[in-house]
């Protein structure tokens, strides 16, 4: 279990992490979300003791990390997957870490096989791809079979097969009773992997909740429907305080009313409905709503691409004479 209690870190007078508290519990995957520059990596570094907090405490299994007799067994971490001498082989790289806790070479081979690097164990890591570095980082974290795990952006550079493997591995590790903290920018992946999420923005805690509760709190809701009497229903929806707009594939989207309200409204006026689906916000929509005021780096609004009536611009007309 990882406990972060009122941790603050300032650089040049600016609080990068500001009075942050949360708990990573065993048995579940906790997603760690936040916009770029929100302080996620700094927080993870403070948990691992690489960065000293200005105030606050971090406990791993109830003890400050630097007081563990078996630090590798308390917390396995992948913070910077490209750590390592490029001229060293994957096996030697892991062996050097394993030696500190007197972990045998059989375990080194075991974790290399587990992450799929068994066949390249004797290759220099300088020639590894990003995905291979990620796998090596995971192997390093798993060396001492720790009770808590922390992965910073573990699926960066992984191919679809690797992402699926990582998702399964992380879930399995949590199911074995470990506390797992995982940061990622890929919300769709987090929605599939994490049970619980901690959202931070500008170094402060924004949300600490289950994924379903977080999505449930989102204002982004609506109803998708199909009806042959769209003009009539549109007037009724507007008069009831809602809005109806065109949806995908000839469907319509209603905002501002629930599916029950739309269904009752249609039934009361004898309007036929062929489909009525309540829309749920995605984790991504919930995240964007939550962090709207906390984005540090924002690109210029470039709007949606305009849809050409004639089709994509690169269509080529072939004239047959």
């Amino acid at each position: 279990m990882i406990e972060v209690n009122g941790v603050t870190k300032r650089y040049g007078g600016t609080a990068v992490v500001d009075d942050l508290s949360f708990v990573v519990r065993p048995g579940i995957v906790t997603g760690f979300l936040g916009p770029n520059g929100s302080g996620k990596s700094t927080t993870m570094r403070m948990i691992l003791g690489l960065t000293q907090p200005d105030s606050g405490t971090v406990l791993v299994d109830g003890v400050p990390f630097n007081q563990h007799r078996n630090p590798l067994g308390a917390l396995g971490a992948m913070i910077d997957p490209k750590s390592g001498h490029p001229g060293r082989t994957a096996f030697r790289h892991l062996q050097a870490v394993a030696a500190t806790a007197r972990i045998g070479t059989s375990r080194v081979r075991e974790v290399l096989d587990l992450v799929g690097l068994g066949d390249v164990a004797n290759r220099r890591i300088g020639g590894f791809s990003m995905g291979m570095y990620q796998r090596l980082g995971v192997a390093t974290a798993l060396l001492a079979d720790p009770s808590s795990l922390m992965f910073d952006e573990p699926i960066n550079g992984l191919d679809p097969d690797g992402i699926l493997w990582m998702r399964t591995l992380v879930k399995r590790l949590a199911a074995e009773g470990r506390a797992v903290l995982i940061s990622s920018h890929l919300m769709s992946e987090m929605a599939l992997t994490a049970n619980h999420v901690v959202v931070i923005g500008k170094g402060r805690l924004i949300a600490d909740d289950t994924v379903s509760a977080l999505i449930g709190r989102s204002r982004t809701r609506g109803v998708l429907l199909r009806t042959p009497q769209d003009e009539e229903l549109g007037r009724l929806v507007r008069s009831s305080g809602g809005q109806m707009s065109n949806g995908p594939d000839g469907a319509f989207r209603v905002d501002g009313l629930t599916a029950v309200e739309v269904g009752d409204l249609a039934a009361a006026h004898g309007i036929r409905l062929h489909e009525l689906v309540p829309l749920r916000a995605s984790l991504e929509e919930a995240f964007v709503e939550l962090t709207a005021q906390s984005v540090t780096f924002r690109g210029r609004d470039i709007g949606e691409p305009e849809q050409s009536v004639a089709g994509p611009a690169n269509n080529v007309k072939i004239e047959v004479r």
Partner: protein
């Protein structure tokens, strides 16, 4: 601030296998890192080649004066045996600087601190491993060089150099100089976190500072101070130890320099983020 919501987590908790962080384990880790870094291994081989390769040919081409006894050959024996160390000591400095700084450059230090979060033992293990290997290599190379040189210089009994205090101190001095320079260079590497910066710094201390201090008139700066610069202490230990007092002073000065730089490295490692 926290808005924690309780989550139904299984009661099962993973208990990790029993492993323990030990200094012996850290030492082994540093040795693995040293022998698997090709640049450092190449430099270590060059140390052995320079130490023996410059000394032995000189001994073979030295023409001892006729009728010299074995005891009379000893000063020539010491000088020829230590000739290669004049260059090797700079290679030792480079090895230490690179070994100290490279872990910071390639991120290995984050893995080391993740495994040993108290940090100071990591530096201690690095000093013992790199300094020990360097000093051990120089000791073995000097011993082999000394045997070959003795056979080349005189038909006298092999035990003669062992009976001469000056000879023994001179040869030991080279090993002490190696250990001191190595510790200083590793510490500078950890302080500056840059291989190039650390190499320039240790060479600056060994050469530039020494020359600069020597140019200052004795009325401005007492000669005792310039005598105890890092470079002068090392130079003294790589010469024949005719003056035991001066030799002991050089050992003390080198120890003080090494301890000061190592102390700075400890403070830096404990306080600075990585």
């Amino acid at each position: 601030m926290s808005t924690a919501t309780e989550v139904d987590a299984p009661l099962r908790r993973h208990v990790p296998p029993t492993h323990e962080l030990t200094f012996g384990g850290l030492l082994r880790s540093e040795l693995i890192k040293l022998v698997t870094a090709r640049s450092l291994v190449v430099l270590l081989i060059m140390v052995a080649l320079c130490t023996a390769g410059l000394s032995i040919p000189v001994a073979f081409f030295t023409d001892p004066e006729a009728q010299q006894s074995a005891a009379e050959v000893l000063p020539t024996f010491v000088n020829t045996t230590l000739i290669g160390m004049q260059l090797s000591i700079f290679l030792i400095a480079a090895i230490g600087a690179v070994a100290g700084a490279s872990d910071f450059g390639n991120g290995t230090i984050r893995l080391a601190f993740g495994a040993a979060p108290r940090r100071t033992p990591v530096l201690a293990a690095k000093l013992v491993a790199v300094g020990g290997v360097s000093a051990g290599l120089v000791a073995v190379t000097i011993f082999v060089t000394a045997v070959v040189n003795w056979l080349a210089l005189t038909p006298g009994p092999m035990g003669t150099p062992l009976t001469d205090r000056t000879t023994i101190l001179s040869l030991i001095g080279a090993v002490v100089a190696t250990a001191g320079v190595s510790v200083s260079a590793i510490s500078l590497g950890c302080l500056l976190r840059s291989s190039a910066g650390a190499i320039f710094a240790i060479l600056g201390l060994l050469i530039v500072l020494t020359i600069a201090l020597m140019t200052v008139p004795a009325e401005v700066l007492p000669s005792a101070i310039s005598r105890h610069s890092l470079g002068m202490a090392v130079t003294t230990l790589l010469e024949s130890a005719n003056d035991t007092g001066r030799w002991l002073g050089a050992v003390a000065a080198l120890t003080a320099w090494s301890a000061a730089l190592a102390g700075g490295a400890v403070l830096s490692m404990r306080r600075r983020d990585v």
